[in-house]
Amino acid sequence: MDRIEGGLMNRRRLPFALAVGLALLCAAAAAVLVARGAGQPASLDARVQQVAGTLSCPACEAESVAASNAPIAQSMRSEIRQQLRQGQTPQQIRSWFRNRYGDQVVLLPGSHGPDLLLWVLPVVVLLGGTAAGVAVVRRRRRDRVRPVAAVARNGPRQAVAPWRLAVVGCTCAAVGAAVPALIMTHTASTQPEQATLSSDLAPATVAQWQSLAGSLEEQDKYAAAVAAWRKALQLHPQSAAMRTSMAFDLLRAGQAAKAEKVARPIASGNGSQQAMALLVLGLAQRNQHDPAAVHTLRAFLHRYPHHPAAGQVERLLREMP
């Protein structure tokens, strides 16, 4: 009799053990996701991307500020970076943007319409699951007190266990699915920073490469900007303007010899980029302590006395031997 009772108890416990195990698994998964999604990532870059991922780019079609390469999205990222540095919370930053661009700039689920369902349903499912669990436990206690009545009512116990297991399991699965899904919508499109020159996110057109080079220049990443100009030039090798920009970035990246090599043919030409190329050539020569720099910079001043950089060049020439 003892042996039979023990076997029955094991059968009765099995679904609960399974349900508790499932619930624990779901909780653990949720905890990991919450820690990953809501915790403070180590670097400022990652935090900028996380906030930018929750904002919609106002100049784009269906792109987050994190994913877009549009100038305004770049500016918005600068703003987010600055506000994070000043200690603003992501919530404060989002409301700063909401003040300017309206509710639609925020990509988090709202608190009305179908979005409400997303907030409420997991709670309902969780409460339902708990209620079912409590009901099952109560019935079990009652059964222990009046085993004969329970046997009469329930029939063989193993016949009852599967559907309870199904209900509890489904509940756990639904909650487990809802929690990570909610977190995912919170941190939607938290992609890594532009993946600068990686394959599938890489720009496809000359204009996109140009814009990337421009944005890299702004971040003082001149070597990367040179790489972007190279890509643009592969698509459009005739462009003296892009070649000159690349020479300028080479100069700023500390590669004066290469800058000189790129700028020289344009400087000796007669195109619209001649002024800029002469300037870059002269500065590159100066950086290499080439005495020809004085001659090149004088030629620049002689031909373009009203160029915006003329004043600075005059000052440089005065300082040179």
């Binding site: 305004i72 003040n99 300017r100 997303l118 029939g155 063989p156 209900v167 939607a188 702004e218 915006p308």
Partner: protein, 204 residues
Amino acid sequence: MRSPTRPLDQPAPPRRRAAARRLGILAVAVAVALLLAALGVAVARGSGDTGPGATGPTGEALDGKPAPTLAGTTLDGGHFRLRPDGKVTVVNIWASWCGPCREELPTLAQVQHRWQGHDVRLVTINTKDGPVAARSFLHRLHVRDLLAVSDPQGRLAVAWGATGVPETVVVDRHGIVRARWLGAVQGAWLDEELQRWTGSRAAS
């Protein structure tokens, strides 16, 4: 373990119980389906599709609110800070790399000229641009006396709710944002707005 008489002791569960079970499973299935539907909606929204009638975020949320801060170094090396001082202010956002700005800046210079002496001020934000490129751009367009505040990182443009360049914002005498034009501004529109907020007419 089981005695052969057991099935007689324990009758099969009544039909009602079986029905309740099926109902329970159905309820769970419906809940899961609803949840999936809600997720689908959320994912669709998350990808930027804001539904019918939505035009996407614009800076229009600033209308009727106090003007954001506008301060910084100017292209001619000075410093500027916008303060409400009884003048109507036209704030224009431009860059030398922007095509439509080329047509627009001469229009703005004309409007500025027409409204001289009418408590109107034109301030421009030179966004995501270098001072050298910006100055030579203005030089080529023969635009002089343009107050341009440098905004190399684009933060001023964002603070003013810009969605692109060029954009023009009208701020009333009390420093409240009143109107906004996206793209190259039309002189007639600007004249109309200035008439409305200054209460006077420009020299024609």
